[in-house]
Symmetry: C2
DNA sequence: AGAAGTTTCAACCGCTCGGTTGATTAAGTC
DNA sequence: GACTTAATCAACCGAGCGGTTGAAACTTCT
């Protein structure tokens, strides 16, 4: 079982009091910390995040961060090296490109914390937690769609993927500029919906 | 006269020794600090930047940051509220859209520090240092191009601008992902050139 | 040249923050 | 129920960082 952040949680259930009412529950604590950390790191970036804030949000003592993850950095790394499963799945099918792009946007719209983490990592020069596997798959997908005549032949799949990913993540990565632009809040599901629609429209013009 | 960062420098020249050989030169010092700060803030973001590093890079004593800018935050704000002149100019003409997009990419390719600063600001939730004026101008430009039949009628200029800006800045904001993608260094002028070409190609398909 | 003001610097200060320590409490074991 | 082990917490610690201080070095003015 995985929680929102993608971590194993409460695997074995053999003790009497049900997991939810136990006073001490390491799995739950771990999960809480991870969730809080994703939110904090996502919101402020690694350097500006305070371990105290993570602990407070998780409702636990800050020492537990060291206890479970070996400190701030360990916690961050755990977060960074672990979400692969989520996004990877949705790729590679024979769906039309526009649907894939739409899904892309909606994925970033939920999982905002993950997406922002990815953006932070990119800016700070870390190798972001997206395996090359996934990227290659997406490029191949684009190439296939191109061969199928769904994308103009003069476009380089690599470059196109880069542009599309950036565009899809724009409501996250350029949240403030987006807000300046339309006056509305780009973090709402409604905005994501409309934006996804527009991007889909855009790629439809690429054939 | 303005230096690379856009600040007034060496305004009056009435003292005997030429500015370049003076031992003490407040304008030069200010300019050096600003340049170093842009590089450091751009590279690591506000929180992770150390004033010591800025001073070292500028080759001056760190106290001068307080002396001239009232501390780290003052320095940052100075940097943030000041570059308008640069980008604003290049907009609004009657050029074809593809050329504008190309120029967009190339602008981010030079001025990397400024662009990264903008990206950091966006992520950290500050209102980024691009005045609404400029953005409105760009939207109007897109609308005009649309009316001229250069862009499909079903696209919303606001959304399109957001997507295009994100895409144009991708080699900056998604530098690491871009590197993973093509194996090559996305910070080189050559890459920017090719990427700009591709984006231009892309928008050409939007009509 | 000498005074006055400006610019620069080395040393220092206080605070914040991540991490550690050692005690306390709950859970599992026999 | 005693004993062992795991989980949690409050208090403390040292490093690192941004900022301040006070004096020295340079410029300008008269």
């Amino acid at each position: 079982m995985k929680n929102a952040v993608g971590y194993r949680v409460a695997v074995d259930q053999r003790r009497s009091p049900s997991a939810s009412e136990r006073k001490r529950d390491p799995e739950r604590t771990r999960a809480r910390i991870l969730e809080a950390a994703a939110a904090e790191f996502g919101a402020k970036g690694y350097a500006a995040t305070r371990t105290t804030d993570i602990a407070a949000r998780a409702g636990v003592n800050k020492q537990l961060i060291s206890y479970y993850f070996g400190g701030k950095e360990g916690l961050y790394k755990e977060l960074a090296t672990a979400w692969h499963a989520e996004g990877t799945a949705m790729a590679s099918a024979e769906q039309p490109l526009e649907d894939v792009v739409k899904a892309f946007v909606m994925t970033t719209a939920h999982n905002r914390d993950q997406g922002r983490l990815w953006a932070w990592a990119n800016l700070s020069g870390e190798t972001p937690p997206v395996d090359a596997e996934f990227l290659r798959g997406q490029v191949e997908f684009l190439r296939a769609r191109q061969q199928a005549g769904e994308i103009a032949a003069d476009l380089d799949p690599n470059m196109l993927l880069l542009a599309l990913m950036a565009a899809a993540a724009a409501p996250l990565t350029l949240e403030q500029t987006a807000r300046q632009l339309g006056g509305e809040d780009p973090s709402t599901p409604e905005f994501a919906e409309r934006y996804a629609e527009q991007l889909a429209l855009l790629v439809r013009h690429l054939r």
